[in-house]
Assembly symmetry: C2
Homo-oligomer: 400 residues x 2
């Protein structure tokens, strides 16, 4: 008796649930410390001390009627939005004000708000494989049609010829995600310039507006000084979705924001509609205490060196075992080539050694697996000998 | 370029925005203490001290990786859900477990989750006027068809003949809200028994399942010892949506829950789909810190005597002025009959005395206005002489 649309999703979600329960089962059987769960993007780094201090200061020092009350605007506290805008201006030489910011229930909430705002049934939304599988659900929520660009497994930069060919008069939005989940790749400035040039040309050709939605939960997680381009500078119709889930290790608190620049086509309507969409989708407003917390912690960052060490150790260890993997420049994922065509077989083989990974087909890129290395360093160190044993099933291991 | 569906909603929301800005304008002109804003359901009672204590204790005493992390299930922390279930069991002699509870981003989030779970395009959702206007948006989000039962302005209990006549084979859900926004009326046990008897008969007649969705943000706000029936005991296909926005004065924090009993048709699917809907609508999980807070404060309540005093003073004052109004048994609203047919004229007249009220047409009940009395007692005391002056425009005031 549930809605038709939900039936397939429930079936699919059972698979994720099954993996989670398998992890629990293994932990009970062998002890949690002997299970190497690389399946979840749940940060293992604690939120900065400043977050704790901010929460205590806010609840002991402010009027609870204001602190826990509805915000005047569904888009959030005006002072918080202004602080976010000014922080972006300082970092990226932009000129946003509070009017350009909509505080959101994480990036997931923000993406739903902007898709609700923009998408008519049948509108096409382009994504580059491999991509975060939720984009499919979010687009489906508003009866949009997801159009996939097939993966470029050489360097996981997007396939631009295919992109250009698949833009139609019905293309309403393109979602990009850099640093990327699941590959860890950062799209280069060259890639961004080419993507936006294609979009500009297609807008002119079709006399349409195509919104570039930049999903940026991993913006602050970039390594080795790599530069993550700020997209509103390259293309007027850019909307940014941000989350503090990773940058402040607050994924459960559901706090992020949308940036809707004045340069966006019909900016006034888009901002007004995003405000309304925040309300009617049931978010009402982003959680108020956390809005104030992120404003107080606007210059705080997570401990990137923790992830960097994990990345180096896991990457080098896997390469030494003979696995193939592109070296990530950002996020906290490794996207490893499966030594057998069907990567689910590889996942099953690894599971025998208590290693949990996500098949690439969940990201529209079969033949690969995703490892989330936002785990303890010990998990990585202890997992490597197990990976070595898995590798021996497929090829001889060179050792280290 | 925004979605067609959003266009009308943006226009409508501008009206609400305009009222809010009018309030700000008046406050600047005359001072905030001389503006009598009865337009918003934003509690003026502070959250209990226990909420503050719980937050400080949680952030200083728990592992932030867990406290602020994703919950294992999108439905929320299992221990929190179990505490909620046991509290309900104790209060209402039910036998729920954590499996029956889905923590939600307020009642608004919960209602969206359950409608997403249940509604196919074209399915009918019945509401009793006057009703919270957002039900229309929430139903529209999933392409459901809202079916209104016209208001019974005698006592604002639902019109049961019309209800029975308007149930069709396409009726998928009925939303009820008691204590009611905007009337403050509590549906009597007799009303509930009649509603559920009608539903049982129609389910048999059409061989369908009709879900009764009980939206209960005002459950704890009942006066004079009036009993608010617990609906799962009257009808198997009942789903409850609850919020802590009013009961703990946490509206900005977005925390509530759904109860999906085992007795509901296809209960397993409904629970699984609600879990998935929580994820794909972008809520992901209810804010984690606040989940833990409400679990710690499970036996806390807001200061109902504050609202009670406001209600008595405002109600008696208005009646003395000659206004007509049903005496509310719950929530924090008065639904006052407009002395002129077009209640918007009445709102405009009151605005000249710096009184802000919401027209009943926003609740599908023109000819009435809603006053939210979750304001300071002083606001009410100071507003009464102004109401007297407004009353003098329409009828002679008996004074007090």
């Amino acid at each position: 008796m549930i809605a038709e649309k939900m039936k397939g999703m429930v079936a699919n979600s059972s698979a994720i649930r099954a993996m989670f329960e398998e992890g629990n089962r293994l932990a009970k059987l062998y002890g949690a410390e002997n299970v190497y769960d690389f399946s979840l993007g749940n940060p293992n780094v604690a939120a900065p001390q400043a977050v704790k201090d901010a929460i205590v200061e806010l609840v002991t020092g402010s009027d609870p009627v204001i602190l826990h009350g509805y915000t005047n605007s569904n888009s959030g506290y005006e002072d918080v939005r202004q602080i976010v805008a000014e922080s972006l201006n300082k970092r990226f030489q932009t000129s946003f004000s509070s009017e350009n910011i909509v505080m959101s229930v994480g990036a997931a909430g923000g993406l739903n708000v902007i898709l609700k705002t923009l998408i008519n049934p049948g509108d096409e939304v382009i994504v580059f494989a491999p991509y975060f599988g939720e984009y499919r659900s979010y687009t489906s929520n508003y009866d949009g049609v997801l159009v996939e660009i097939s993966p470029n497994t050489v360097d996981f930069q997007p396939k631009l010829d295919e992109f250009e060919a698949k833009i139609t008069p019905k293309t309403k939005a393109v979602i990009i995600n850099t640093p990327n989940n699941p590959t860890g790749v950062v799209y280069s400035e060259e890639t961004i310039k080419k993507i936006t040039a294609i979009l500009e040309a297609k807008q002119r050709e079709y006399k349409t507006d195509i919104y570039l939605i930049s999903d940026e939960p991993y913006r602050e997680l970039a390594y080795d000084g790599v530069k993550v381009p700020w997209l509103t500078k390259y293309y007027d119709n850019t909307i940014v979705g941000y989350s503090y889930s990773k940058s402040l290790s607050l994924p459960g608190e559901r706090i992020g924001y949308l940036v809707i620049p004045d340069e966006v086509a019909d900016s006034g309507d888009v901002k007004a509609a995003a405000n309304v969409a925040t309300r009617i989708l049931g978010f009402v407003n982003a959680p108020t205490l956390q809005q104030k917390v992120v404003a107080k912690c606007i210059n705080e960052k997570t401990d990137i060196s923790f992830y960097d060490r994990n990345k180096e150790t896991l990457y080098n260890g896997l390469i030494d075992c003979g696995f193939e993997c592109i070296k990530p420049q950002g996020a906290f994922y490794l996207f490893v080539k499966s030594p057998v065509e069907n990567e689910k077989e590889f996942c099953e083989a690894a599971k025998k050694y208590n290693i949990l990974m996500v098949p690439g087909s969940s990201f529209a890129c079969p033949g690969y697996v995703r490892l989330a290395y936002c785990v303890s360093y010990e998990t990585i160190v202890n997992a490597l000998p197990k990976f070595k044993k898995v590798a021996e099933l497929y090829f001889s291991c060179t050792g280290r």
